[in-house]
């Protein structure tokens, strides 16, 4: 797994080098950080969807929950008159409840997670739209006019350079990393993903843990929704409509096994950034029109995943080890001569 993280890091550095070479502007902190803002929601959510997927689940409703929490922030603030930060808290709580419901159905009724969250992706997108029609502001307008403190929050740059969003992401990544890789809770997540039956025989409360991962991913979606609302200065019901598939892409590219039991926060974070940088760098440095971006991102996914699958094949492992041996023996050769 560490090896895969490293591979991703190399890919990222390579990507940045190529883009920087093609267009030196790419490396200007203002440019690169400006672009990072656009991918933060995907990055944050994929961290926690990683946990869901390690339990052998999947969450394809996160995008819908982003829109739902955004509109909840807007409606509770504008129509219920809540303080904006209280409104944000309400959104987080509701998203957590959404996660709880999903997790409950998945864990306690053993319904396939793909189906539950597929249903959820329809349901919560629909609910977000319905909630927006309840508001005194027309759905199409998007609720705006938020207090300065809220609007400036997501675009604030620490030291004038580092966007607050990036800091939020790094903090959440560190939290997720600690939770998954360093705590007993994280260990249980892995064990459940590997073999849920065996985990039960070990006395692990598998259902509760599985449910909790959906709650976490719901909360992450809400945090992203709030950040987006703040960043754009407007609350809309369809804010997360297009981020579901990129999230799954990032998680899997990050090395998480679809069947569960394996995955890494660092890998996911790196993969999310790789995709983000690719989507930003190609138009900037190679003038690829955004509507064609699906092709390079799709190809990247296919190539990287295929290469990884191939490199795990026994034949290839043998070949590489033989190659290594040969190289080693060549290096040994002069030594033998001298002795």
């Amino acid at each position: 797994m560490k090896r895969w993280d490293l591979t991703l890091l190399v890919i990222l550095i390579l990507e940045i080098c190529i883009f920087a070479y093609a267009n030196p502007k790419f490396l200007m902190p203002r440019v690169i950080f400006g672009s990072i803002n656009d991918i933060i929601p995907i990055c944050i959510i994929s961290l926690f969807v990683t946990m869901v997927m390690i339990t052998a689940g999947i969450d394809i409703q996160a995008g819908a929950v982003v829109g739902l929490s955004s509109i909840i922030v807007g409606v509770t603030w504008q129509d219920l008159g809540l303080n904006i930060w209280v409104a944000s808290l309400v959104a987080i709580i509701i998203a957590a409840l959404v996660g709880l419901l999903t997790g409950y159905i998945v864990a306690y009724y053993q319904v396939q997670p793909m189906v539950v969250t597929l249903g959820g992706s329809f349901l919560y997108a629909g609910l977000a739209l319905l909630i927006s029609t309840l508001s005194s502001t027309e759905s199409y307008k998007g609720i705006s006019g938020f207090p300065e403190s809220f609007v400036n929050f997501a675009s604030y740059r620490i030291g004038g350079v580092l966007p607050v969003q990036v800091v939020v992401f790094l903090v959440m990544a560190a939290f997720a990393w600690f939770l998954l890789h360093k705590t007993k809770y994280g260990r249980k997540i892995f064990l459940i993903g590997i073999n849920q039956n065996a985990a039960e025989y070990s006395g692990i409360n598998t259902r509760f843990i599985i449910m909790s991962t959906y709650v976490l991913s719901g909360i992450a979606a809400a945090v992203s929704g709030i950040l987006l609302t703040s960043y754009l200065g407007t609350a809309k019901s369809d804010l997360g409509a297009t981020i579901t598939l990129p999230i799954i892409t990032a998680v899997v590219l990050g090395g998480t096994l679809m069947t569960g039991g394996k995955g890494s926060i660092i890998g996911t974070a790196l993969a999310a950034v790789i995709i983000g940088v690719l989507k930003f760098g190609l138009p900037l440095c190679f003038r690829v029109n955004m509507q064609y971006l699906d092709i390079p991102v799709g190809l990247l996914l296919l190539i990287v995943i295929s290469a990884r699958a191939l490199s795990n094949r026994p034949e290839v492992i043998v070949f590489i080890s033989n190659l290594k041996k040969k190289l080693d023996s060549k290096q040994d050769l002069p030594l033998i001569k001298t002795t």
């Binding site: 600690f178 360093k182 705590t183 007993k184 809770y185 994280g186 260990r187 249980k188 892995f190 064990l191 590997i194 073999n195 039956n197 065996a198 985990a199 039960e200 025989y201 070990s202 006395g203 692990i204 409360n205 039991g261 394996k262 026994p314 492992i317 043998v318 080890s321």
Partner: protein, 502 residues
Amino acid sequence: MSESQFLLEARDVYKSFGLNQVLKGITLTLKSSEVVALIGGNGAGKSTLMKILMGIYKPDQGVFKINGQSLENLSPKKSMKAGIYMVPQEPMIFPHMTVLDNILIGFSGKKADLEKKLEHFYRQINCKIDLKRLGMTLSIAEQQMVELLRGLMRESKILILDEPTSSLTFDEVQTLFEIVRDLKKKGIGIIYITHRLAEVFELADSICIMADGKITLRGETSKFTREMLVQALLPPSFTPASKTRSELENKIRNAMPILQLRNFSGYGFKDISFNVLEGEIVGIAGVVGAGRTELANTIFGKEIPLGGNVILDGEDITGRSTADVIRMGINYVPEDRRSNGLFGISPVCANITSALLDSKITGNIALNNAEEIRISEKYIKDFRIKVTSPYQEAGSLSGGNQQKVVIARSLSTMPKLVILDEPTRGIDAGARGDVYKIIRELSHTGVAVIVISSDTEEIIELADRAIVFCRGRVSAVLEKDDINQQNITSASFGIYKEEANA
């Protein structure tokens, strides 16, 4: 034409999985009407060789001939056409198909004819499984039955049986033997893989011993003795542990009951009452479906009880959740290692400490890695688990070592009572000795042990007291001196009468 005296010839078969060279030039021959017993330690490569014959794995190298005709690029289809069929070690059941479809899938021909044929075999092996049941409702033993029926239906010239008796009990094993003898008469060649040496002498014409990817010994059965086989199979340094009964007896006599079952009933068993004392090893024997695993599962909180009580150390724990039961001091080694026991792609240390995650030992919130390694290393040392490091993936260990890991997991919680369900199923003789040693040492420390086993020899070897189940009820309680093959067998069928022995 001297070549064609062999029904099957496999020469110089090589196979490696990545860097792991499993078969290093195997040559195996089989004549018609011959039963070749293939034995060898876990991971010797027996199943791999058979899967190559079946065309499931591609060999790196090797020549295969059937009746002198050479075969190339084997695939399951080709192998079957050539008359080879394998009953695999791990049953491969289609969970959403009925038993009937499970057996008949892959056959061509009229369904009615096939069903008639099936009926014949059903009667022959005295099988009672409802043909309309779905595959997913079958127990492992029943799954193995279905697999066997598939093999018989094939009417192939070469039948491979890969540990067919590992989940079967005495009477079914006998039925199977009859069938094998019958097939032999019909000129069919059989490769029989097993870890049970008694079966070898009962059935086989010749014996092949595999070790380290090679055939190390081959010859007619009459030329071998049991001791020779054991010698050939065991690692050179192995010293069998001996039973020190008298010491144990004293201990048990004064011991307190750890576990008391009082008219305990559940799905699959009824009115079970017995005690297990401190430091005692209680064996539970019985035929398949006798309800032993269900009893264990129900005590362990995996299934709801229907009546009666389970009392552990004076406290009633009937119907508690698994986590509670573990905390109260019981642990269980499930019979199906692959699906309930092992975390295959997880490191050995994580496997061993998995039952400790709710205790403070492994840390409060953060995982205490140092402690985890300390605990794992202790068990790795004590149980002589063969690993390169505590971080090795558990799934890459041999069967015996996997079983030791699972046992270590259940002991790590320092239970007062351990229930081991089929602790040596599919394990080679060396590892089996180790497991027995672990069990005995455990009882010396005062832990109460229940061993559920379908292997009568195992009960005889281990148990201080044997409880025999028949159709969900206790049909006999055999004190140490009464534990023998005959008593267990008769009790398993509910015809044991104490007076007869008295």
